[in-house]
């Protein structure tokens, strides 16, 4: 998978979209690092726990700091991060044009028809983003489930379900990229690129994808 596209942006909205994407990547990286660290610690403590049980030192995990750390590094804790990582990473994939699409037929259409299909696709993305915000907000507000990781960590599902409308909102911001959002990345190159005014950039179409 490739690095973010080095596409020159000029409008304040597209700069905002870039900044939001950078922040999203940073948040996702932090989430992934925390998930990995907590999971590793959890596995280590699990192994220690079973060793201590066999050695007859079960009390070590009965109370004190070890018991607190053990209780709060269970997989159920890591799972709280997953909806955020999942939904936010979708927006990153969109922004970086990591789409899987069947574009060959549309690309073979005459110019005006091709541009029309791209606008239809753009409207579909906008509707998708809008639906995530609209229905996601209702869903998050209406969530009543409570996640109980331990005595110390108990979290309303509202906080995890909020990932849905937030991801929708980020996608709405990325709409500022216009039709560029629909470019497809194959092995690091953008395919079927269109400029901000909808001009087809033939230089971006690699030979193998023709």
């Amino acid at each position: 998978m490739a690095e973010p596209a080095a596409v020159p942006h000029s409008t304040p909205l597209s700069r905002l979209s870039d900044a939001v994407n950078m922040a999203t990547v940073a948040v996702c990286a932090a989430l992934l690092a925390v998930m990995l660290s907590v999971s590793a610690l959890g596995i280590l403590l699990e192994a220690m726990h079973s060793l201590f049980l066999r050695a007859g030192w079960a009390d070590a995990f009965g109370a004190g700091w070890l018991s607190i750390v053990y209780a709060n590094t269970r997989p159920s804790f890591v799972r709280l991060f997953l909806p955020w990582l999942g939904m936010l990473s979708i927006t990153v994939a969109f922004k970086q044009c990591e789409h899987i699409a069947i574009g060959a037929l549309a690309r073979s259409l005459p110019g005006p028809l091709f541009r029309f299909t791209r606008w239809v696709n753009f409207v579909a993305i906008a509707l998708f983003a809008g639906a995530l915000v609209w229905y996601g907000f209702d869903y998050a507000v209406g969530s009543t489930h409570l996640f109980i990781v331990s005595d110390d960590i108990q979290l309303s599902q509202r906080w995890t379900a909020a990932a849905v409308p937030v991801a929708g909102l980020i996608l709405v911001i990325h709409l500022a990229d216009g039709l560029r959002l629909l470019d497809e990345r194959i092995d690091g190159d953008l395919v079927a690129g269109t400029g901000p005014r909808g001009d087809v950039d033939e230089r971006n179409v690699p030979e193998a994808a023709e």
């Binding site: 990547v25 996702c28 990995l36 990582l85 999942g86 994939a93 994808a209």
Partner: protein, 427 residues
Amino acid sequence: MSASLAFAVLLLIGLPLGLVLTAAGMVGAFALGGTDYLGIIADRFYFGVSGYVLIAVPYFIFTAEIMNRSGLTDRLIAFAGSLFGRIPGALSHVTVTTCVLFAGLTGAAVTETAAIGKTMIPAMKKEGYPASYAAAVIASSSIIGPIIPPSIIMIAYAATLRDISILGLFAAGILPGLMMGLAMLIVSGIISFRRRYARHDRVQFAVILATGSAALAAMGIPVVILGGILSGLTTVTEASVIAAIYALVLGVFAYRSVSGRDMWDSLVSTISFSGVVFLLLGASNVLGWYVTRSGIARHAAEWIAALSSDPTGQILAVVLLLLIIGMFIDVLPAIIIAVPVLSPALVELGFHPLHAGMVMLLALNLGNITPPLGLTLMTAARIAGVPYESAAREALPFMAAHLCVVLIAALYPPLTLYLPQILGVGQ
């Protein structure tokens, strides 16, 4: 009907597949219950991306990313290179063997093609192999990656169905995966002999020992993953964590080849690739909701049963359908589209869920290299700098070999069910 129409139109005009599936599911939901049902998009997307087992997806991607950047590939290639000596087409066989070894590290064919192809294709061209043949060998060998565990497509399959054991699927994939490797070696051997491809120096035990020990730590990852999971010591998620930590320790401390920048790049790539997978999983849940309520799966079962009353005819019909789907749609979305409909249908007709699952995965996986949309072959052709069509032509004998494995797996259930039965998983 309205959902199918929306699906077809949006697919053909090039909308990202995740959104095509979502739109088809939403249109179907609207047809079933009007605007009241449109709210399922939030609920289904949330559950689609938050299943516990999905934690393993970013971890496995991260492991592969770190291993790609840590020089592991070169060590595996050196080891595989020491094994073939004076056999014609030694480097072709080295490529196949490296891909089989690499299959235990990564679960995605495109990742494997990029990792190995960037080293092996220039080396093969240097030894006089046609670039299109090099691309064909790399791509055709890389598709073993998603069949030998760990496998992202198997996790996606299990996450889509929710009532099938990932452990069982992992165990079921090992024998067909090894058989694919063997089939590749046979075809590569025949072609290399007929075309008199280059031989290497005689095999030397000392070289095998030296390169093998250099690659030993890297080859420990499949042992950690498979050994842990299949012995019941770890869950899939725990194994993915251990593999990621193992890869990090290896890259940062043992090989000292992974810098801070590499780690950041690995995280960014992991996030981006995970986003592609999570979009498809969320979308599959929206479509799956509609498929479940509309009774499409039952109709599909009736349709297959009407085609033939003989189980052999039924599963061959499904294989043919999946091969056609795989020609036009990438593997992961194809699984997400076809599995909720066809898998329950096959189980309803009396096929074992693991057998049905593996046959479906094997057939769809072949779509990675079949034109017109074989993304893995496309990637290999790009690396080799050859037209896609010429690489596809060279890949034909390898496609035929893989097709034989698919057919054997379809017609001979023990190939997929033997290991799960022995290990007592997924029954």
